[in-house]
């Protein structure tokens, strides 16, 4: 869980025990009033609620199921909230093990970025039992604005990666449409205005347009700095296409979008906002 999320929880009156693999971060948070812990498992003891946020499925498995893992230390009855973005099947397996240990566990991946974390306006997509969702809601409301129940365990993950699959394809759709319109001689602003009142409109065209100069205050207007990095989108596309493989579900455009972002990353743009994928279509 990031520092801004911790601060928002402190601000809401919660007492926090914290651990991160970066000792400096733990020290900083300790100076701000959190109790430092020596590891994830120690964090999980003597608390009402455990919140984790980890980079990938193997990390989540290791932290929860490993020999020194959280589920060997945690008290039955603890409410467990995993905010990592991982694959839905892994999320379901860990939740099942947590229930076997007597804990209530939900998956609650998050969207909204660093800005949303700081402003406590994140969206949490929650998978799990309705009563556990209700129990977690007050905690999550300390960090976010939209707390959506997506159904059973793993569905928070499913909602997030399917949304991001659509988002990635639509961003590339917008990039291709804008670039082609410009090449055919249209003013990009005029074209965007038309699309945004027509059937081609999408969040990527009307709120986060990738063409430089069309909208103010978006990454496209500041050389794609900030925002949601292309490599993070690439990671979510990997999760989505992996989940589709496991579910034996075709996602033709999704798979191609994953490749376009892979090429974009190899070309050196992984750290730029994901709307920079339009650079694949604009002649330098």
């Amino acid at each position: 869980m990031g520092a801004p999320m911790c601060r928002n929880l402190l601000r809401h009156g919660h007492s926090l025990k914290v651990y991160d693999i970066a000792p400096a971060l733990v020290r900083t948070l300790a100076a701000e009033g959190c109790e430092p812990a020596d590891g994830a498992a120690q964090c999980a003891r003597d608390v009402d609620c455990l919140v984790t946020m980890l980079p990938s499925s193997p990390n989540v498995r290791a932290v929860y199921l490993g020999e020194e893992g959280v589920l060997r230390r945690i008290a039955p009855g603890t409410l467990v909230i995993d905010c990592s973005t991982i694959d839905p099947i892994a999320a379901r397996e860990v939740a099942m093990d947590a229930r076997a240990r007597g804990c209530r566990m939900i998956d609650a991946p998050v969207s909204g970025g660093v800005a949303g974390a700081e402003a406590a306006t994140l969206t949490f997509m929650v998978g799990g039992e309705a009563q556990d969702y209700e129990a977690a809601k007050p905690v999550l409301q300390g960090m976010g604005r939209n707390i959506v129940h997506c159904g059973a365990s793993g569905n928070g993950q499913a909602a997030k990666i399917c949304n991001n699959l659509m988002l990635a394809i639509e961003m590339i759709a917008t990039a291709e449409g804008m670039a082609l319109a410009a090449k055919l001689g249209m003013d990009p602003k005029v074209f965007a205005a038309i699309v945004n009142t027509s059937s081609g409109r999408c969040w990527s065209s009307d709120t986060y347009n990738p063409y430089p100069g069309v909208l103010e205050g978006v990454p496209a207007s500041r050389d794609y700095a900030g925002g949601f990095g292309s490599d993070l989108m690439l990671k979510d596309l990997a999760l989505a296409t992996d989940a589709a493989k496991a579910a034996r579900q075709p996602v033709l455009l999704g798979a191609l979008a994953q490749q376009v972002y892979q090429k974009h990353s190899v070309d050196g743009h992984g750290a730029k906002d994901f709307s920079s994928v339009i650079l694949q279509y604009l002649k330098p």
Copy 2:
């Protein structure tokens, strides 16, 4: 120009001379007060304004530039409005020839479907000189609600095909996202509600959702009857990818979307609404 468009012009007090290759249609309109003509060229004489609507670029070239074509008969100064959806380069060439003949010509492809034509709520995307756009506006307002100036000659076409390129990709994005979410165990309505307040939202997800039962009153709720046919979308995708070829502009997802619609058409779904492309992703 279709019969509903003619009727709306009559209703607005215009006198009409009409021609169509289907004699029955001409007779019907004559009975409603139009003057029947023997051919396109005859329609073009002794009128202030000529409006045409034809199925493809070769038809437009033949009607305007052929040996018995409109441009050999039309009086200099006539305002010419072509409502066909064709490729932007063909539109520019015909407009140039019209100007050489002393006429003012605009391209004004239309969106909104049969329902929009009947209700006079069509959108016209206009390419041509600003003054010719202004001159055509009162005529077009008799048939439509949004009359948008897209820039110079051909830009009406460019705007329409680039919008529809984005629309087709976004429709498939929605189909892939909805189908994968359902396969992963989510309720399609719940997932749609989440996407439609998130970054994955688009017209295809929030207004025209292809998953059966998510929205009422859309083709997906009536077995994909009515609406905008898959084969019409396939035709527009052919125009868009051809224009991209001519402009030497890559459109990776656009080209794949064209193929998905081609496969969908070969599979026998060409007459169904274009949101039926989700059938490529749902197991029967």
Copy 3:
């Protein structure tokens, strides 16, 4: 028809009348013993056989069917051989008009490149009546080695563009396989040797390998100079995907291959040999 092809015909004892839009080329060939002509139509008069080679379908239509076109001047009974690579439907239309004029016409697109033209080792893929193919054979054998009858009119074109569609996809397949094997830690030469005795072998892997250093004497070993240019492959892919559109036939990988070559061309590699498409996959 290029200069090397003319020289080979001269060498075989034919008398030639020649025309090209480049006057210098006509002068050069005149100095070598050809009779210079003032235009294509003049070439077509008082000859037993007319051979043409033009860059695109519109050129072929213009030269044969235009107001000053060949078919208005040519004597009935003349054998007509068009060596252009164009779309099969255009080839069929022109051949039909030629037959209406009393001429026998075949389409005979060529492969083998400049080197093949000079060495008279070209392959001609011939579409047309069996007897016209037989009549043309002695002429074509003066310029090439393999003279293949592909069936009725237009089938020479169909054979060529379908072969090149497969070739482009297989070249990219080889590029992706070689690049991935190398990235996974294999020696490219060792991997190529394995593939070339396995089910993955193809002409692009065993004869024209795109990975630098695997084969000697191929474009990949000389920085992709010479050979068959990427932009020429892009043109053939445009013909193939257009023909597929007209035939309502899906070609998913073909359409994506066309896009990959379009991107490669926009990136500035259009003049390099088409095996340079592997540069899209190798980190610089």
Copy 4:
């Protein structure tokens, strides 16, 4: 390891201890002279050489690294040959653990199918130390004909999945080219003959042509029965695209080929030979 492979080893004079999760298979092999074992770990004790063949990476990890796994029981110095087709990184990890335990381990995935296993004509692609490859050669020669050293540990896997990535793309290339040529009016046999002496030739076109009636004795001539199943190809494409993800290497056509096979499988053709993918392109 399949029964035919065991029988070939017996025939070469080896003594065998065998285990499989199917008890009936173990009984059958026991009746033929093998010593039955109660588990993989028991097989690994008191032998000179251990050969394993398992369906996926998690199985290989479990059998070798699990709490009751092979590496906890095996004597240092034992030669270990894993014939599973799995991802190269998993193969490298297991081999590293084997070496830590004092064993020599090679990865040796196999191609050639059931027919090749019975006739002892399999190809083994071997990754590992040169001396371990040499040590394993006499064993592998009892089961196969081509024993190829592909380089260091994991390279046997890399060679196999990269070959199969190319194979899948080339099979679809052949399917698209053959289907388009036929749709354009060519005789499929004539077209195949031309391609197979031209630059479009590949193993899929000249040895395993997917178009019905072009070659005799291939799956296409017996309604795609037998051969290498589409679902097995789909599994190998999953391995290849996963390896590409991990290696951050774009494989645009490979990813699309994976999707085409996924769709083919969902359409109910997973058990048919992988050349049946042409059914996606031929109108029923």
